[in-house]
């Protein structure tokens, strides 16, 4: 039993610089402990042996952007992750009484489960016709996967168990059609999602949005970047709009902390204050 050699700070800087130059994405404000482990894991999977080899193969073009980014990001594959959250979100949306059209962003498409869950909820609440849903990710490769609407059949047991815990109506499988070993989200839901590639570090978010669902994205980033992302979100969110974070993410130490009120004691749903 051996621990992998620790990646040195200089090696890491060199790698981040190379990725930034070649793939136009700056990882310098990623959470450093987990980023190092993701890189270590990638090196092991691809049998590269060292960070230096990884750097060289990025430069030579042997390692492609999409394959690296897909391994670096943690793509969790669960519908209705944290059922208690989805149960609470349904209650909150019912109380909001949306009169006009509803613009929603879901940040971090990953393999699609989060936005698929959202579509099922909107359908359940009869909000589908007035909702505009945009799902964004920094990784074009993973967006393609999400766009296919497919989820692996082997994850259906966990998905169904989550779905039952949310207390939503109907059967989860009614929203999907079996396709080989996979299940495909029904077209009426899938076609309503707009997918978009976005560079969280460089791009500004623009728009007047009513709900921003951004669960487990901040956990990849260090405090500085967390603050930057929250500021971008803040600028795009309408008055009384909802900012939704993962169960252990918070706005507490950021510049926007005083501008929101957390709804309920448990789930991380923040409502933008009217000023």
């Amino acid at each position: 039993m051996q621990t992998a050699p620790e990646i040195g700070i200089n090696e890491l800087r060199k790698l981040i610089q190379t990725i930034s130059e070649r793939f136009d994405y700056d990882f310098s404000n990623y959470s450093s402990a987990s980023f190092k482990r993701r890189i270590q894991r990638f090196i092991e999977i691809k049998r590269l042996g060292s960070v230096e080899n990884l750097v060289n193969k990025i430069i030579s073009g042997e390692i492609k952007k999409n394959e690296l980014f897909t391994e670096v990001s943690v793509n969790v594959t669960e519908l209705f992750r944290d059922p208690s959250f989805w149960k609470y979100l349904r209650k909150v949306l019912l109380e909001q009484n949306f009169s006009q059209n509803l613009k929603i962003w879901q940040i971090g498409s990953s393999s699609g489960e989060e936005v698929f869950s959202l579509m099922i909820l909107l359908n359940d609440l009869n909000l589908l016709s007035k909702a505009e849903v945009i799902s964004v990710d920094f990784n074009a490769g993973i967006i393609e996967k999400a766009q296919s609407g497919l989820i692996p059949g082997k994850s259906m047991e966990l998905n169904t168990s989550n779905f039952i815990k949310t207390g939503y109506k109907g059967e989860l499988t009614n929203y999907f059609t079996a396709e080989g070993d996979n299940f495909k989200l029904n077209k009426d839901l899938l076609s309503k999602i707009k997918f978009k590639e976005i560079n969280f570090v460089k791009d500004s978010f623009s728009g007047s949005v009513d709900i921003i669902l951004c669960r487990n994205i901040l956990i990849y980033h260090n405090p500085q970047m967390q603050n930057d992302i929250l500021k971008k979100i803040h600028q795009s969110l309408n008055m009384s709009g909802l900012l939704i974070l993962g169960s252990r993410e918070t706005i507490e130490w950021s510049e926007i902390a005083s501008k929101y009120t957390m709804l309920g004691p448990e789930e991380r749903i923040f409502k933008k204050n009217k000023v």
């Binding site: 039993m1 621990t3 620790e6 959470s31 450093s32 402990a33 987990s34 482990r37 993701r38 943690v74 969790v76 208690s84 487990n216 901040l218 956990i219 990849y220 980033h221 260090n222 405090p223 967390q226 993962g246 169960s247 252990r248 993410e249 918070t250 507490e252 130490w253």
Partner: protein
């Protein structure tokens, strides 16, 4: 108690445990002085879907508040941090805690190895690692990192442990500075606090 190096250089304590460790943690936290000055990071194996309960139970037994940190939470003197359910807890350079949802390590999330390894990287020789009773080998490599960076390693006496797999696994991969019974761990922490308080 055998001679222990009570040195004021220590800046943090990390504790790991699994099967049987809950009672042990309760005992330790119950006896910890209110003015205990070092931050304590605790990682113990817990059920994925049960978010609450453990923190409340530990808080009741503890004189000090036990907190499950949020991502990017700043580390404060004398605070006790418990790794939340279904997240790995990392200690980061720059004095804050990060959380991650990566794959399980040793079938565990939170994994003790991850908390110990990141803690060792940040605190180097100023860290004390304590591994308690447990039924698997998670934490062993973490203890090795603590030792490799010059920190102090303590395991709960296997004879006293409900299940001794975890402390014994640590013993097999690295040098253990002290084997202590729970009462000795408590006494050690109280004595250490007198030194680090100065």
């Amino acid at each position: 108690m055998k001679e222990v190096d009570l040195n004021r250089k220590y800046k943090a304590i990390v504790i790991g445990g699994s099967a049987g460790s809950f009672q042990v943690l309760c005992k330790i936290l119950n006896k910890l002085p209110e003015d205990f000055s070092l931050p304590i990071f605790i990682c113990c194996h817990r059920l994925k879907h049960i978010r609450n309960g453990l923190i409340e139970a530990l808080s009741i037994k503890s004189i000090k508040e036990v907190k499950e940190p949020d991502h990017n939470e700043p580390i404060k003197r004398g605070k006790i941090y418990l790794a939340p359910a279904n997240y790995h807890m990392n200690i980061e350079l720059g004095n804050y805690i990060s959380l991650s949802t990566e794959e399980m390590v040793n079938n565990s999330r939170p994994a003790i190895d991850i908390t110990f390894e990141t803690c060792a990287y940040v605190y180097k020789d100023k860290l004390i690692g304590i591994l308690l009773t447990g039924a698997n080998k998670d934490g062993a490599l973490g203890m090795k990192k603590v030792k490799d960076y010059g920190g102090m390693t303590i395991i709960q006496d296997p004879e006293e442990s409900v299940i001794d797999t975890m402390p014994k696994a640590a013993m097999s991969v690295t040098k253990i500075d002290h084997v202590m019974k729970v009462e000795e761990i408590i006494k050690f922490l109280i004595e250490l606090n007198k030194v680090t308080q100065l």
